[in-house]
């Protein structure tokens, strides 16, 4: 390990190139799988395993360096900048999908329904299609009836009426996730006060809430597929619903996993000090970020759905 002045410049490292290989094999396997090649899943699995292994090594190295005191305050700031802008890039990823939802609802569907100067498409191609959201009857169904290839959902996930609020699953999902944002903040406060027991307790509770959210989400998907006729290919409504909630769910899964790792690090290894806990803080930032995305989803996908 070499230290350049006050800034720690790490020695040569095998991690980056092996990580590149792992990432490559993962996507190469995925592409082969999707294109129907029987070797695809194996390549994907090996690549994913290699990638996970490298990440494990990489994070261990960073943690060890920090514990050994090699990280100057300046280097720690670099990690803070890194995580902050990484989260911003995630925000922009979701922006693409929210943007698609807004565009479809504001422009594409009314035009397909015959509104405005682009409404000619209704007359010529999709005669009979009525502009509505959620789109229950797709343009394809309006024209081709039972022969349609793209059918709309049987039921939507939109908010029905105030009376059913207490039995409405997305409402409870919101409660669970909002609460978890508060508990992770309590965990942070506890750590700041050197209250290890409180930290573990609140953090453990946050992880539990995260898992509970995922269970509720799985239940919702099950209902959608099994009883509501709402699937990924149910026209544009199914598309936007599952892509937005699905990517959010994937991020909640990752966030829960990150918090779980932090929980285990604290519980088993006694990591984190009141003034040195950026691993935990970055995971909690990520958690707040997925929470904010959920609020957007709750409003635009469920309430105004």
């Amino acid at each position: 390990m070499s230290s350049e002045g006050s800034y720690y410049v790490p020695e040569q490292s095998k991690l980056p190139i092996v990580a590149s290989l792992g990432l490559f094999l993962t996507v190469f396997g995925a592409a082969n799988w999707l294109n129907g090649d029987s070797k695809g899943p194996t390549i994907l699995f090996c690549g994913g395993l290699l990638f996970a292994f490298v990440l494990w090594q990489w994070f261990s190295a960073v943690i060890t360096e920090n514990i050994n005191g090699m990280n100057s305050p300046q280097l720690k700031r670099s990690y803070v900048w890194g995580m902050g802008w990484f989260i911003f890039s995630e925000v922009m990823f979701f922006a693409a999908f929210f943007g698609a939802l807004f565009y479809v609802r504001t422009f594409a569907i009314p035009w397909l329904g015959g509104e405005g100067d682009k409404g000619i498409t209704n007359e010529i191609l999709w005669n009979g299609f009525q502009s509505e959201w959620p789109v229950m009857t797709t343009p394809d169904m309006a024209v081709n009836g039972d022969a349609a290839k793209v059918s709309g959902p049987g039921q939507s996930m939109s908010f029905a009426n105030v009376d059913s609020l207490w039995s409405w699953l997305p409402f409870w999902n919101t409660v669970v996730l909002m609460t978890s944002s508060v508990t992770v903040h309590f965990a942070h406060t506890a750590l700041k006060n050197d209250n290890r027991k409180g930290f573990n307790l609140w953090l453990g509770l946050t992880v539990a809430l995260g898992i509970f959210f995922l269970i509720l989400q799985a239940e919702e998907y099950y209902e959608a597929y099994a009883h509501m006729g709402l699937t990924l290919d149910s026209g544009i409504y199914g598309t936007t619903f599952f892509m937005l909630t699905g990517f959010h769910g994937a991020h909640v899964t990752l966030g829960t996993f990150m918090l779980l790792v932090m929980f285990l690090r604290s519980l088993l290894k006694g990591h984190f000090k009141h003034d040195d806990c950026f691993g935990f803080e970055s995971a909690s930032w990520y958690w707040h970020f997925v929470d904010v995305v959920w609020v957007g989803l709750f409003i635009f996908v469920y309430i105004l759905g």
């Binding site: 490292s13 980056p16 590149s20 700031r77 890194g82 802008w85 922009m92 693409a96 709309g152």
Partner: protein, 516 residues
Amino acid sequence: MAHGPAKGITRWLFTTNHKDIGTMYLWFSFAMFLLGGVFALVIRAELFEPGLQLVEPAFFNQMTTMHGLVMVFGAVMPAFVGLANWMIPMMIGAPDMALPRMNNWSFWILPFAFAMLASTLLMEGGAPNFGWTFYAPLSTTYAPPSVTFFIFAIHIMGASSIMGAINIIATILNMRAPGMTLMKMPLFVWTWLITAYLLIAVMPVLAGVVTMMLMDIHFNTSFFDAAGGGDPVLFQHVFWFFGHPEVYIMILPAFGVVSQIIPTFARKPLFGYASMVYATSSIAFLSFIVWAHHMFTVGMPVAGELFFMYATMLIAVPTGVKVFNWITTMFRGSMTFETPMLFSVAFVILFTIGGFSGLMLAIAPADFQYHDTYFVVAHFHYVLVPGAIFSITAAVYYWLPKWCGNMYNETMGKTHFWMAFLGLNLTFFPMHFVGLAGMPRRIPDYALQFADFNMIASMGAFLFGAAQILFLFNVIATIRGGKKATDEVWENPEGLEWTVPSPAPYHTFSVPPEVK
């Protein structure tokens, strides 16, 4: 390890050194430049005469697509990241990039991504053939199976770009030497800081749009399918929300390079430093609200056409500020015309031509005539070739003596310049004429009246290609030997990079310099 590079191949595979990684980026980019150049020469050879003679139309489409993708993502972007790696730490007095391991990861993703992209040429059904803009439904419903590999290649090179951008932001904001305030930073650093923000903001959107394609192709979603309530035009909106800032990603660092070089050879400080910073920021901001000027003919409400037309024209204002600054910097300077300066002066003139044809294209009603003609091809090649490519070339000549300690051969450099200058104008200027006369882009055959201009363009293209071989030869010769360069290399150039020895030691600024 603290005192020098490791021996053998592991130096490159496992390195955490910003100079090594910068070197790898630059060589990788040059390799991709040659590959993309070969694709371009296939196109120009086919278009040498009317009629189909060398390649099948299907293969021609693969060539236009792969040429664009390889040049944008493989040649131009990595070249600028390579320059950033080499120069930013030295310019701000930092020991290295902020996150050195992630830096190496960003690089090593690229060879894998491009190997995967290039391998699509050998796949059944051929490589992507839908143009580098990959409009749906050409790239979804009607795409060859290799599109899946293309999508994942875009995903991982996007990850590489985002990590590279995060690294650059952390380096610039966190690693400056004491006294190096933001408004003292060299313009190359400033333009890269702003570029990095553009990258972080739009590469995830690109990832989003290719993900939508992937879902439409393999999981029957309806993003771009009107039958299910989606809209193919949605693809264009999301793509160009990425695509327009992307073209500034390829030109802002070029502005930075030229703003370093012109003051050195005009022997005057840059005319308006602060106005350059503000102009760059303005251009970056505007780049987010002009995307639909690529889509004037696709069917947008009139309010949209007008908004995007006026917003686009606004960009001419900060760009004009920049051109004004470069010219006033040269005005009454003691100018000399070494190779980097030649490329930079050509940059100012030819980029302005590209900017003016851009202004023509910005006029929505006029664009109905120009859209998808060779005029558009002429326009964006005038901003990319003498813009991005010339500035990268100028940067290499300007800093090569600092990198390897030897002076390049000036005669060969000037020959390279004049061949490239002549070649590119012969190639791209006639395209304005055939475009205005109605020759569509992306076709392997054309009407007889376009024959003469196309023949000139093809000859120019081969001249331009030959010039790059001379460039390669000159660079290799300089690395292997030549007149020793002084620490300053040029006459009183400004900047911290000229205070360290030539060649720059493996580790610079272990102790931060004091900037007054």
